[in-house]
Symmetry: C2
Subunit: 284 residues, 2 copies
Amino acid sequence: MNIKVFTTTKQVQDYAAHCKKNGQTIGLVPTMGALHDGHLSLMKVAKEKSDIVIASVFVNPVQFGPNEDYDAYPRQFEADCQKLDQAGVDAVFHPAKEEMYPEGYTTYVTVDGSLTNRLCGASRPGHFRGVATVVTKLLNITQADRAFFGQKDAQQVVVISRFVRDLNMTAQIEIVPIFRSANGLALSSRNVYLSAQEKNKALVLSQSLQLAKEAYKKGEVKTSQLKNIVRAHLQTEAAATVEYVELYSFPDLNEIDEVRGKALLAIAVKIGTVRLIDNIILEA
Amino acid sequence: MNIKVFTTTKQVQDYAAHCKKNGQTIGLVPTMGALHDGHLSLMKVAKEKSDIVIASVFVNPVQFGPNEDYDAYPRQFEADCQKLDQAGVDAVFHPAKEEMYPEGYTTYVTVDGSLTNRLCGASRPGHFRGVATVVTKLLNITQADRAFFGQKDAQQVVVISRFVRDLNMTAQIEIVPIFRSANGLALSSRNVYLSAQEKNKALVLSQSLQLAKEAYKKGEVKTSQLKNIVRAHLQTEAAATVEYVELYSFPDLNEIDEVRGKALLAIAVKIGTVRLIDNIILEA
């Protein structure tokens, strides 16, 4: 393998400084590992837009709630490394949690208000504080010129874009479209929790969004109607438990009665015990 | 005047990028203006340690509580500019509050725990969140290699050093000793609120710290005794109202029964209606 494997911030800082000195631009792709083709599509875009690509593989404890799946979250670093190497990624940062949050660690980046208290923020208090904090650290450690995130985590992308702007950070945040399997399922590391049968049932998520998109294209702009279309289709699947179906302006996540500009239609649904999210952007 | 005056983040970012390209190091001295010789001592150290010095003059609204003196805080930008120019400072950043906190601004940097909930943090909730947020922004905007702060605001220095380390920011935080008038009064922008008579009464602050230091040098290490010495002397001045007299380990601000390593003896006292702070480091 050609990929450089770093476990300390110092190693990454030295490497980044060396690259910068050579006039190379750095692209960062933060991940929690358990890499799938969705991640690899991010690496591909990062390589096109950067001289050097650094991926991080770090299951970030501070973005998990006390009853969430931090311990159970899939970890498969060696397989991840091989995939990253084959994708031509230059370096991977794989720190222990004590390297990122040493004893006495007390600093957090918070984004207040409607960006974080709705959608996934409503059921996952503290989640976006954890995301904003770790991404701030990773951007500072890697000195990245650009950082790449998937549209799959739509609210995450909005939150990150906001704090990077608010804190006058220099990195450019790049958003990469959702990567779906041929039958429409949005790729997610949590899909490994699904049985083959559940994977089929999970298609109800993307199908319901498609139905709403078609209705929108035919002229339906009412928020309540579009949400009803999604809910009605989700209810056809007995294994599906809806957490939310929401439609907000994008990227400000304000409540809207009708879709006029860009809007985010986002859903969180449990298939059996596995929580999945999906979304689509509606625009004129 | 030779000093460059910038009011937008874009101007500062362009200037900083230009300096960096020339291989020059940048020193940042954040201030709220109303500059006195204490500030100028910071500029002097910054000049010695940096190729380019950028000062900021910005009365930061988010570090003031609702009943504090944000509106009344002394503002004298033209006089400040002349002092900075004479001190050889290269550029001053003097943004409007809308430039720093535009509509929709929602991101804050917080340092939790004992560093911020005691001393001035106890009576000024949210104060250090405001400080951490504005300093993060200023460090990012100026791309400073080093930033210079006075030991006068001891807790501020501790909080800034902590979040810079926690968030893996690259700037070096440099601490400059308290600048005192010949009779011992720690210089502060809020001293302009004091009458000549009150300035004399305010000497009780530095005197009380000196008495404790002398006792410490003679072997007194008990926290309670050292604090008693300070309180007893402060009580000799009828115009003085004590807010706190505290002695903590430095820089972690933990409670201690005895001074063994470095310790911070810090006081906040009102002289009439003017709140003043002062401190001294005790060490072996």
